[in-house]
Structures are given as C-alpha cells and as structure tokens.
C-alpha cells in the first residue's frame, strides 16, 4: 500500500473542517452560522476534488508525519472511502443549507442553536477521518470525535426528552467504544500492529482473534443501532432538531457500518465463519421486520421515520452472510460477491438521501403545525405540495420501487441472494418492502385526506421545502451513474478487487 501515489488531500479533508470549526467559535451566533455555512461549502468542494483525484489516479495515500506503518498512521483514500466522503459531502451540504434557513426562521427563539455549526463541522471532520483511516486505534479516535459531537447535537434542542434520549445515546455510544477499544487492545497485544493492511496479512486465527472480532463487532453493532442494540436510536433521532435528526440518521450511523465492512473484509476474513455471517444476517433480517412493524405502529411522524431507520440499517447487515462463502464454494465461481457488497454501498447512499429528506420534511411539518402527530399530515397535499412530493419520493425510495436508489440496492441484494443460493433471505427483503409501503402509503393517504379541523398553520420558507425535495430527488438520481460507480468501486486496489480472496469462508469450521 506504501507504493500508491501520495496526496495531501486526505489530510486537508480532516484538518480543514476542524480549523474552520475552531475559527467559528470566536464569532457570536450570526457569525458562527456564516462561517459554518462557508466551511460546509468549502469541505464539500474539497470532497469533490478528492473524488476527481481518485477517479483519475486511483487510490492515494497520505503518510502522516512521514512515519510509515506500523509505527505511524497512514490515511488511505480509495474508491470506497471517496464514495462515502462524496455522499457525506452531498447530503451534508444540503443539510447545511437547510440548517441555515431553518435556524434563521426561528432565530428569535434561541441563540444557542448556533453551536450547531462548530459541532457539525467537527462531526464532518470525524466522518472524513473515519472513512480515510487505515489504523485500528485511529478509527477509535474518530469514533470518539463522531460520538461526542453526535450526542452534543442530539441534545441541542434543550428539551427534556432530548436530554434523556441524549444521555441514553451517550451511554450506548460509550459502551460501543469501550467494546471496540478492548478488541483493538487484544489485536495490538497479539500482533504488534494497528495498520489494517498489515493486519490483514499477518493476523492468525485463534481464540484471541475470534474474541477480538466478537467484541469489535458488538461495539460497532451498538454504534450502528443494529438489532438488538437499536434501543437508543428512535428516541435520540426523533427528539433532536430537524437538521440534526437528518445528520444522525443519514450519516452518523453509516460510519460504524463502514468500519464493520472494512474490518470484516480486510482484517478479520480469516476468523469469519459461515455461521457467524448467518447470525449477523439474522440480526439484520429481524431488524428489517421489527423496525418496519414498529414504524407502522407509531403515531408520531418523527418516531415513524426513526424506526424506519432501524429497519433500513437491517438491510445493511444482511449483506454480510452473502459475502462469506459456504463450505465447499470456490471464490472464483462466486459471482454474487460484487453485487452483494455494492448493494450495501447503494443502500447506504439511497437511505442517506431519502432519510435526510424525510427528517427535513418532518421538521418543515413541525414548523408549520407545531407538533408531529401523524394527524398533522392531513391536507398536506394542498397546503405544501412540495413537501408532500418530497415525502412521497423519499418514501418510494425507502420501499424500493423502481427506478429509485432504494430499488437498485434491494434489487442487487436480491440478485446476491439468488445467485448465492441463500434463498431464505428473499422473503425478508420482500416483507420489509411491503411493511415500508404500509407506513409510507399511510402517510401519503393522510396527506391527501381533507383536514378535520382548522389547525393553525404557519407558513414555512420555500427554500426549506426545496432543499428537502432536492434531497429526495437525489435518492433517485444516484441510480443514473450506477454502472460507472460500481465499476469505480470494484477497480479499487485495496478493497473491491481483493474482497473475493479475503472472505473465503474462514479458517474455522469450514476446513
């Protein structure tokens, strides 16, 4: 990996948002917002440049301090990383724009909301750092940065229920971090290295490795709200401010999934077993059914959306059993591996756009009506057609109807399921879609229903509605470059091309 071309972009992608966030602290509330918005645009621009650079040069690295691993830390920007960075930038810039108008619209109520900007930029730097990191301990540090900023953002609304939910979130996040750190300590103790690339080569199967894999997976499952550790997500995500809910659901939980994917594929391939893959897939399957059902049963819009996140994250866990070959299958003949893991990446992107749009729409409705009981959606179609359309489009993507990004992800996942012969996952995917259709159509039915009583209805700035609609459209537009994007992902020197040789069944149980 040392031989790859070097670039200074990875360092700037982490350093610049932190520098701007630090700078913004010196300003009062209005100045914080200006600096914060400019910083968001700047970071998004950098992400675009980074994407172009990787598309041209292939994977690039940045050796921090000039010390090569295992002594130092190496930042690695490969197609997978840069796709996640690009997604964060696109979704992030829309959420930033929404936040700018959203906080301006309710400026009189609270000046404390301006803390959103430094915290969001710190969070963004943490996410970029996580996607770029190639070091087990550095990943822990980025998780810490993300966790503390996410909790701070979640409690920013200052309401009592958000403080309770935030405390619960904090405790869950710390439990996850500690479990992860324990695993890292075991790995470092037994191998003397933290670099993912080196670990992938030298890690030997054994009790220590298996246990480290278990605690690390547990920690990351807590972080990404994988079933049955999803309990903290619905209250935390539903009680936060609208732009914050969007950030937490669209981006923050995806960070843990990204680490899980990388570690399972690049580091722990040797210790994975077929049964282990089936188990994590089962957790995902239960999450899909349970989360969708719970979403269907809720009466508050934001809780519906938050429970829907639990279900949509379940699909991400369901790609893992497909990546681990059953005993006796040769990697060369396993042509479903690529559809399976690219389905995961597409599910991440489709969900990020759709869910961000959904939460922003919920924020618009709360702004207009003052509450988010699902009855507040009545007659929405005539009052706010644009927001109704955003909810409809985002909902269609969540269900997975063609030609949305959600459809593409689920279709690829089904393709992986059929080609691999693990047919038992197929009914789960279909049932999940039906249940999702249930709550999305319930919301849309309400939006077209006549209003029962004349509730007070405050006008909402058009700009907010446009942003939510654009994000919803984004979940459709990502389908168009799909073929190129998948080719780009598979062309990676460090991840995609190597995945087939890495996840060959594992040393335990199969041989």
């Amino acid at each position: 990996m040392i031989n790859l071309p070097t670039s200074s972009l990875p360092a700037i992608l982490v350093g610049l948002p932190i520098l701007v966030a630090t700078l913004s602290l010196f300003f009062r509330s209005r100045g914080k917002a200006v600096v914060g918005l400019l910083g968001s645009l700047l970071t998004a621009g950098l992400a675009l440049i980074a994407f172009v650079e990787v598309a041209q040069l292939g994977s690039v690295i940045h050796i921090l301090g000039g010390w090569e691993p295992p002594l130092g830390i190496l930042l690695r920007m490969d197609p997978l990383a840069v796709v996640f960075i690009g997604m964060t930038a696109l979704v992030g810039v829309f959420i930033s724009l929404f936040a700018w108008w959203y906080f301006r619209a309710q400026e009189s109520t609270n000046g404390k909301f301006s803390l959103f900007w430094p915290l969001w930029l710190f969070l963004w730097a943490g996410l970029n750092g996580l996607f770029l990191s190639n070091d087990l301990f550095n990943l822990f540090v980025t998780i810490e940065v993300i966790g503390i900023c996410a909790v701070a953002l979640a409690v920013l609304s200052g309401k009592t229920d958000s403080l309770f939910a935030g405390l619960r979130y904090l405790l869950a996040a710390i439990t996850g971090s500690m479990a992860y750190l324990f695993g890292v300590a075991l790995i470092y103790g037994s191998t003397g290295t933290l670099d993912l690339g080196l670990l992938g080569q030298i890690l030997e199967p054994g009790k220590t490795t298996t246990f480290a894999l278990l605690v690390i997976t547990f920690g990351l499952m807590v972080k990404m709200a994988g079933f049955p550790f999803h309990f903290w997500l619905p209250p935390a995500h539903s009680s936060a401010l609208a732009p914050v809910s969007a950030l937490l659901s669209a981006l923050v939980v995806k960070g843990a999934f990204y680490i899980l994917l990388r570690l399972w594929a690049e580091v722990f391939g040797i210790s994975l077993t077929y049964a282990g893959g089936q188990l994590i897939g089962l957790a995902g399957a239960v999450a899909v059914i349970w989360g969708s059902w719970q979403a269907f049963m809720q009466t508050n819009l934001k809780l519906i959306i938050a429970h829907s996140s639990v279900a949509q994250l379940g699909y991400l866990l369901m790609i893992f059993p497909l990546l681990i070959l059953a005993p006796g299958v040769v990697a060369g003949s396993a042509d479903w591996l690529s559809p399976a893991w690219t389905a995961g990446v597409y599910q991440v992107m489709a969900h990020a756009f759709a869910k961000a749009s959904f939460f922003l729409s919920a924020g618009i409705i709360i702004m207009a009506q003052g509450h988010d009981h699902k009855g507040s959606l009545r007659d929405l179609a005539s009052r706010m057609p644009m927001t109704t359309m955003a909810i409809g489009i985002a909902g269609v993507s969540l269900i997975g109807l063609p030609p949305s990004g959600g459809f593409f992800a689920k279709w690829m996942l089904l393709k992986g399921v059929f080609l691999s012969g693990q047919l038992w996952w197929a009914p789960v995917i279909l049932t999940g879609s039906f249940l999702t259709a249930g709550y999305v159509f319930m919301l849309l039915r309400l939006a077209f229903a006549p209003a029962r009583d004349q509730e007070p209805f405050r006008p909402v700035p058009h700009s907010l509605q446009v942003v939510a609609l654009l994000l919803a459209l984004g979940s459709f537009l990502i389908v168009f470059p799909a073929e190129n994007l998948i080719q780009f992902l598979e062309s990676s020197e460090t991840f995609g091309s190597g995945i087939e040789s890495i996840m060959e069944g594992g040393a335990y149980g199969n041989n």
């Binding site: 070097t6 200074s8 360092a11 700037i12 350093g15 932190i18 520098l19 630090t22 602290l25 010196f26 940045h62 050796i63 921090l64 301090g65 000039g66 010390w67 295992p70 002594l71 130092g72 830390i73 404390k112 803390l115 430094p118 915290l119 710190f122 750092g129 301990f137 550095n138 540090v141 980025t142 810490e144 940065v145 503390i148 900023c149 909790v151 701070a152 953002l153 409690v155 920013l156 200052g158 403080l163 935030g166 324990f182 075991l186 470092y188 103790g189 037994s190 191998t191 003397g192 290295t193 054994g206 009790k207 220590t208 246990f211 480290a212 605690v215």
Partner: protein
Amino acid sequence: MSVLIDSLLAILAIYLALQCLLAQRLIQTVFIFFAFGLALALTWVRLGAIDVAITEAAIAAGFMGVLFLDALRDFSPAVSKKQQNLEAVRNPLPGNDTKRPILPRLALGLGLVLFLLISLEAVWNTPEGKGLTVVTGVMLPDSGVEHPVTAVLLNFRAYDTWLEIGVILMGLLAIFAAGGKEVYRKSGMTAEDPVLRQVILFFTPILFLFGAFLLYFGKSGPGGAFPAGVLWGAIGILLHLGGRPVLTVIPRWLLYLILTIGPGFFILLGFLLMTTGSTLFEYPPAYAGILILIVETMAAISIAAALTAIFTNLNQMSEEPDKIESNN
C-alpha cells in the same frame, strides 16, 4: 514481595469497584470512587506507566471527584427528599428490589460472568509482547525527544493526539450544548476565606511549577501535555472556588483563544509544514524537539482552560436558581 503488593492492589481495586457500585448512598459512592481512582493510579505505577498514573490520579480522583462532589451538592436537596420517601417506602416493604422480575437480572448476571471469563481467557492467550517497542527504540533518535511515550504521542502518532486534544474541546462544547451556555456569566468575588486564601497562595505556585516541570520533563521521561494540563487546570478550579473566576473576567476572544490554541496551533503548524512539501505533522528533524515542546505547551494551556471551563460552567449552571427548579 512485589507479588504481594501486586495482589494486594488487584484485590483492593476490585473490592473498591464493587463497593462503589454497591454503596447505599451517593456520597459514599463518590468517596469510594476517589479511593478507587487512587488504587488504579498505584496499579499504573506498578505497571511502569508513571505518566498514566499521574493522569489517572489527577483526572479520576481529582477532576472527576470535584465534578462529582459539585453534582452531589446540586442534587442533594432533590435527592435527600427522594431518599427520605424511598426509605419511608422501603421500611414497611423490605423487599422492594425483589419486586422486579428475577429472570432477566439472573440472565444478565450470568451473561456478564461468562463474558468476564471468556475475556480473561482471551487476554491470557494473547501472545507475548510483539508490540512496537523495538521499532520505536530504533526510530527514537529521529523523533526529537528522548522518551518513547512522548515520541509516539507527539511525533509518530501526532495525528491521534491532535484529534484527542480536539475531543476535550468538543466535550466542552457538548456541555454548552446541553445547556451550560446561557448561564456563563461574570460572577463577583465572594467573601474572603482566610484558610482558602492561604491554600490558594500556597498551592498555586506549586501546581504551576510542577505542571511546568512535567511539561518540560516529558522530553526525557514520563510527563507531557496531558498531566501538565490537568495540574494547571487544578489551578483554575482552585482560583474559581476561592472566588477568583479567572475565565469569566477575561474578554471573550481571549477565552476562546486559550481554549483553542492547543488543537488550533497544532493543525496550523501541520498545514504550514505541508506547504513546505512534507506530510501533515512531519517535523524537520532538526527542529522536532523545540516544535514538540511548543505544541505541548499550547496543548497543556488548552487542556487546562477546557477543564477549568467545564468545571466553572457546570458549577455556575447549578447556581442559577431557576435552573434547579426546571431540573426538578
């Protein structure tokens, strides 16, 4: 002999941890937690990690203890009322805990014991030290410092350290976000307490000098920015308690300057070095020693300011009477 001391420490730490969890009253929990922190610090000393020991003692027993006591004082009116009610309920009904279903707790307990056993086995099976000690030793002459821990923290893995210094600042912002911001106000001097005054006069210079010593000594031995910052932070807390609120009387820009100078200077230096063609945090070997000392000093100032600010914000938050009302 050393085996005896080690086993004594191990038993003491576990015993204190259990006592801390099982204590009936919050005040007991807090004081046992102090003792636990000190036992842990002694354990670190026995393990040869003096810097971790100093930080553990200062943070776990010192700083956390102050925060706990402060929180306890805020909660005491609410808690004591609740505890009276609880005791009134408990006395006629001695088994109020057993009303909860026993099976989930049993399963949880069993699960935890199993987890402990399996993790003990995993730790036991970890192969003997393959760490990076040898590589660090070889590269040490190029790092600009003589102590391997400082070399790792400030040079080989400076990126991690920079982010961790940032995390302290983010922790302060999180406290602001949770509601500590509005009550950040200037508070006048409180009445002079002769004993407190003598304590401040006596301890401030000692703490300052000891912190500065640790900072400089970090070059060649255990020490560095984190322990130094914690000690300097203690000065801020002491002065605040003595009615000299250092952070609230200085101008706003200066406050944010000292809060952010640590991570801010670090990354600016990194970017500056990048413009000369090297990578982030790649010091020119000839200047590595002095640059590391400057970075550490800035970091220690920011850590001290952040710890003081965390304490003063939480402390002042509770002094706002309507705040207490709304918490109840």
